[in-house]
Amino acid sequence: MSEKQKKRYWKSIEERENTPQFQAEAENEFPEPLPLGELLEDPSFNEADVSRRSFLKAAGFSVAGALLAACARAPVEKAIPLLNAPQDIVVGKAYWYASTCAGCSAGCGILAKTRDGRPIKIEGNPQHPLSRGGICAVGQAMVLSLYDSQRLQKPLRKGQPVNWQELDSEVTVRLNQLGDDVYVLTGTITSPSTRAAIERFLSRFKRSAHVEYDPVSYSAILDAHEQTHGRRVLPRYHFDRAEVIVSFDADFLGTWISPVEFTKGYIAGRTLEGKPPRLSYHLQLEGRMSLTGANADRRIRVTPVEGAAILTELARQLARKAGVTSPPLLQARSLSGNAAAVAAEIAERLWRAKGKSLLVCGQNDVELQRLVNLVNHLLGNYGKTVDLSQPSYQWRGNDRALVDLLEKMQAGQVKALFIADANPAYNLPNPAEFTEALKRIPLTVTFADHLDETAGLSEIVCPLNHPLESWNDAEIVEGLFSLSQPTIPLLGDTRTLRECLSRWLGDARPDREILMSYWKERIFPRQKKEGSFQKFWDQSVHDGFAVVQPNKKTIPAFRFASVNAPRLQPLNSEQDFALVLYQKTGLLDGRHAQNPWLQELPDPVTKVTWDNYLSLSPALARKMGVKEGEVLEISDGEKTVQLPVQIQPGQHDRVVAIAVGYGRKGTERFTELGPKWIEHRESKVQPVGKNAYPFVRQVETNRSYLSKVTLSKTGNFVPLALTQTHHTITVPKKLGGEARDMVRETTLAKYLKDPKAGNHYEHPVLQLWEQDFVYKGHHWGLAIDLNRCTGCSGCVISCQAENNVSVVGKDEVRRRREMHWIRIDRYYSGEEGDVSVMFQPVMCQHCDHAPCESVCPVLATVHSDEGINQQIYNRCVGTRYCANNCPYKVRRFNWFDYWKRGQKENLVLNPDITTRSRGVMEKCSLCVQRIQEAKAEAKRQGKPLADGDIKLACEQSCPADAIVFGDMNDPKSRIAKLIEHPRHYRMLEEMNFRPTVGYMTKVRNQG
């Protein structure tokens, strides 16, 4: 085809014809002219007189409007690829750092889990010699306080933020001007390097001192040892070595000195698995119902004075037995019938267990503590259960020194006062006196993490690092040094006390170097294991602690002459009640009042959250005609406080108790916590609870936490936020009165005869189908030993941190809507006076025949082939049928949107767990994320999962090792052995729900 014929395509006839009209239109494809002319010609348009003024108005309005609109917070979404990945950090992988807990000064070893550079969970360090993997609720909750949005971020001078350079130069200049009379007032400082820094700092000045005090003081124990043994130290108590433990008002499992360490020891002395089984005898003398009292084999209700009398009598009887005839003791009055009999019985018990017994006393009364020392001395307990040669440095407060300092302050003899880790304006008995005296000091510097009561009064406030942000060390007991390392870069412009003081001395080294040089000079030489300091340091940082050669000192002979019979002041009038001030497990002395996890933690015994209250006995409540929640006015003659009543079975009828640590400045913000809706009942903004420290009395040199008070009605009513409202396992008498068998217990005598004692509930369980599903792989199970569980509630917070369990606020708890996935049920039995207490941790029982699964219409809760009852949040539509049909009532519903976006506190969230939106059911998942992680890791390493590879959050930190998780299909696993144990049972076994969570009977050392 030679001829190329050009084909012509046309779109329309007009185009083909190429009419002139088409040509015109093709040139002007969009022919419609803008109707501007018409508009301009429109007379009305021209008449619209837009003056310059109105034009400017309109323009201004537009600009302002646009600006306002631009002010709205638009979501900023940035996705920046990690171009320069940090070394050794894999995003999404958890890293664990050994450190030391700073929740109180007991110094338990912790492991901080960090994800993507932020710590999200704290667990016990299993290698730590003291806490051995245990950690309490407070320690668990420390991770939340790191992200507290109210923490101080910058130094303040007269309330105004300043920068450190200005502050440093000002403090240095003013210190030079002031010259001498410089004092440092702190809480107990366990860090030797900080102590050295303080010492160094103070050595510049004449007339200077470092005064340590503890709001809840142990000073009397130290003072007593100074008088009886010549050394002002806190002995180290070995509960594991004691066969007979007598505790007088010492809540050593809850809050006293070092509860985790003591729980570990206590439980070691109460393990039934060993051969022969060990079960120490624990007798508690107390007026209020403490956690320790709740665990005692025998509990005798006494007023503090009665207790002191029994103690005196006990000492007298033991002295007689030991053949010691020391004059002051024999002068003691003889007691009336019952008390004398009790004393005789205790004396007999203790005497039989000479050298294997322990008497502890929780009262800050030096006379009583000297008696305690005498008793322990007579029993030969020193060197065995009470160790003075390697004493504890966990609490060093000195009440006398504090009194001296206050006197100096009042006399105007203090030129500069540095307050660190202490809040005297809140927790001293007379804060007004302190505040007044503080005004006379030319320079006051406070080191604090919050703008608390004291920081608000001082001229200069230095913000402190959070313990998880800092390097630190701690000498907990002689020869044992703990280390803390930062787990996150500083979130604010903060420093440690050590760093500040060093800087003001002109030492500008970073904090870590100060610490390291201290260790190099003072601690490294005390050990022989490592040759080079770097290796020693690295190992210590890795382990979180270092054990070195203790500085052993000889203990002087016991000075009998120092002991005298205490003067007793019994309650005279019928109207007088003995007031006992105590610490709660969560808030302790008030230092954790800013932590909502701890505020919402139900008290292990009373099950009350978000408040302190006046505990009194049921008999007293009846006599006074008061109901729970009724507000009473408590008065000691000078000070009064109004608190709601909590009726506490087992409390002495003449004893009332109030927890300290409440009424803290800054806790007003929790009024805002929780959902707001028309029936929300918290309208008045006020701190959580009331401050009870004003009732503390200065008795000679020591502060006493006992007082004499009168009570009067106010007619007001404040409902308590309780998580448990029925307190016995027995149903009310008129409704049958039978005791249910969810908790089982027996006595040691019966147990030794029949290990299944107390666990004989053989209900016939009929199966419709034999073994309807075979678990071929893993079959996860959990066993909880009620004999070990002390009810301390550490697991509750551990679970909350691990599983992003939301805080719901006081009003929601009052509506019984708390979210905790694990709860500790507490049941009383016996007469309301002499009750015995059972604790039972209850989480989802992961029934193999789960009643919740069959009723969910949308299959939002299903069973895994490893026996886990799974909840699928995004499938849940919220019928709540599953929760209704749950016989254990462990399911928790999101009644509102409890989570708030954009909070700094949300940094604590575990990224492995979704937060749950409203309308969705949630519950314990057996920490399925941990199971999956361990399985993946085992697979990666190519070896089978070993028993103990997976530790649930509740299990890991349990100070009593009461919870055991494992594969029930693995015959060698601990759980498989426990299931075979005669003490093992399951709740509601007869119903054939087939729960995989089981319990072990509690055995009391009785009868």
């Binding site: 959902p675 809706w677 029936e679 448990q724 409202t725 029925h726 016995t728 396992i729 027995t730 149903v731 009310p732 008129k734 409704l735 049958g736 039978e738 249910r740 969810m742 509506r815 019984r816 809507r817 708390e818 709860r823 049920d825 507490r826 049941y827 039972q840 209850v842 009643p851 069959s854 009723v855 969910c856 219409p857 949308v858 299959l859 499938r875 539509v877 919220g878 019928t879 709540r880 049928y881 929760a883 209704n884 049909n885 016989p887 254990y888 009532k889 399911r891 928790r892 519903f893 999101n894 009644w895 509102f896 949107d897 939106s917 409203r918 309308g919 969705v920 059911m921 119903m991 729900f993």
Partner: protein
């Protein structure tokens, strides 16, 4: 032509009505302007409905937390109201289907309104399973339909799913049954209508009814078939609703007697509600010759019988609790009678067991005022029955640590009130726009008991 009455059979319709009179009588309220009384009633009901709508809107926007529920009591007012309204909904279909099959010709005077009541009650009931969801906007997940969310399917073991089927089937059949019965009357109204619009609407709704023998014949076949279809539903719906409880493990719920017990209770409460409505309606609408005192008496007898079954069920439950030697079961019944919600239990016993015993007396059965009061008591009692079953079983079950109390919030109370608002609003509109009595059917019984 004089009338002779049978000795054995009394006429069902009084007043020696002619066919034309019946049409005029029944159509009168539809063709006159509403009375002030109607307006007052309507505006009151509508206001209450608006309050209910506001409460539900607030609840859906804020969260189920605006109800008084808690970790232990997951259902209370919501499901109580649901079961209560489903129960009310039972009388209509029973009257129109079962009584039809049993040739109870007196039913013709009341079946239309009772069925309307059924439909409105089921509408009220249907709201509660919907709004009680934590995430009501995802309610359709309960329906098994092919979806793109992976292999997600519904749980056919869950009684809530059965509920979904049972209620939707019941509602559909009831509606169709009611509508089929309505068609000849729609045609009558069409023929009487004066305004064009009215005529068009009624014409449309009558499906082109022509009144021919063939039409009537077809109509009656369909009606009979639907009656047969609806009959098992009367029994199945409440049986299935009762399985929400019966298949669970909670003491006080886990009970095999529930299906018959619930059905009897539903008929009991349904007839009580029919009585309440009819006693007012016959007076206000001048239907005393259609809904005669004999009708009232017959319904009273049904109330008495079903009330007896309910009372027997209560006794059997209590007996079984004792006989089972199951401590949890025993406790639940002791707790109902003597525990913190004893007042609710005794309200229930008084209203459902004691007060209906008055109906043994003929004088009382024929006293409109007393029957009206009794019917109100039965309504209250049956609401409390469901409250007692749900709340007292849940609030104290196995583990004493989880025992709690439940108290409704104002939102829940407003929602309950709102459901009554919806019910009465619908019923009042029904009275104005649809013949209250089945004209066609009543005409068929005019000669009942007469000898010509």
């Amino acid at each position: 032509m004089s009338m002779h009455f049978s000795v054995l059979r009394k006429p069902i319709i009084h007043g020696e009505k002619t066919l034309a009179q019946v049409t005029t009588d029944v159509a009168r309220p539809l063709e006159t302007r509403p009375t002030i009384l109607w307006w007052v009633a309507f505006l009151t009901s509508f206001s209450v409905l608006v309050i209910g709508v506001a409460a539900v809107t607030y609840q859906i926007m804020t969260g189920i937390g605006t109800w008084g529920l808690n970790k232990t009591v997951g259902w209370a007012f919501d499901i109580t109201n649901f079961v209560f309204w489903v129960g009310i909904g039972h009388a209509g279909t029973l009257i129109s289907a079962i009584l039809f099959l049993f040739r109870q010709r007196w039913r013709t005077s009341i079946n239309r309104s009772a069925e309307a009541m059924t439909i409105f009650a089921v509408m009220c009931a249907g709201i509660f399973p919907l709004i009680h969801l934590g995430r009501p906007w995802l309610f359709f997940w309960i329906a098994p339909y092919p979806n793109m969310r992976g292999p997600l399917w519904v749980n056919f073991r869950s009684p809530l799913l059965w509920d979904f089927f049972a209620i939707s089937t019941y509602f559909t059949i009831s509606l169709v049954f009611w509508y089929i019965g309505l068609m000849p009357d729609m045609a009558t109204l069409r023929d009487r209508a004066k305004s064009k619009i009215k005529k068009a609407v009624y014409a449309f709704m009558s499906f082109g009814w022509d009144g021919s023998t063939r039409t009537w014949q077809r109509y009656e076949t369909v009606y009979l078939l639907l009656a047969a279809l609806a009959t098992p539903l009367v029994l199945s719906v409440h049986s299935i609703v009762s399985m929400d409880f019966a298949t669970s493990v909670i003491p006080g719920w886990h009970s095999t007697i529930f299906p018959p017990y619930f059905v009897a209770g539903a008929v009991f409460s349904g007839f009580a509600m029919v009585l309440t409505l009819m006693i007012i309606a016959r007076k206000v609408l001048n239907y005393e010759e259609y809904i005669t005192i004999d009708h009232i008496e017959k319904m009273c007898k049904i109330v008495l019988v079903t009330g007896g079954i309910v009372a027997l069920s209560y006794l059997i439950e209590i007996f079984m609790a004792w006989y089972s030697v199951n401590e949890y079961e025993r406790f639940v019944f002791l707790n109902r009678a003597l525990g913190p919600y004893a007042w609710a239990f005794w309200t229930m016993i008084t209203c459902n067991v004691l007060i209906p015993q008055l109906l043994w007396f003929k004088k009382i059965r024929r006293s409109l005022v007393i029957v009206f009061i009794i019917s109100i008591f039965v309504n209250i009692g049956m609401w409390f029955e469901r409250f007692v079953i749900i709340v007292t079983s849940l609030h104290r079950d196995f583990l004493p640590s989880s025992w709690v109390m439940y108290k409704p919030t104002i939102i829940e109370i407003a929602t309950l009130a709102g459901s009554f608002g919806l019910f009465f609003t619908c019923f009042l509109l029904f009275v104005r726009f649809i013949p209250f009595i089945a004209i066609g059917e009543v005409k068929g019984v005019l000669n009942y008991g007469k000898n010509k």
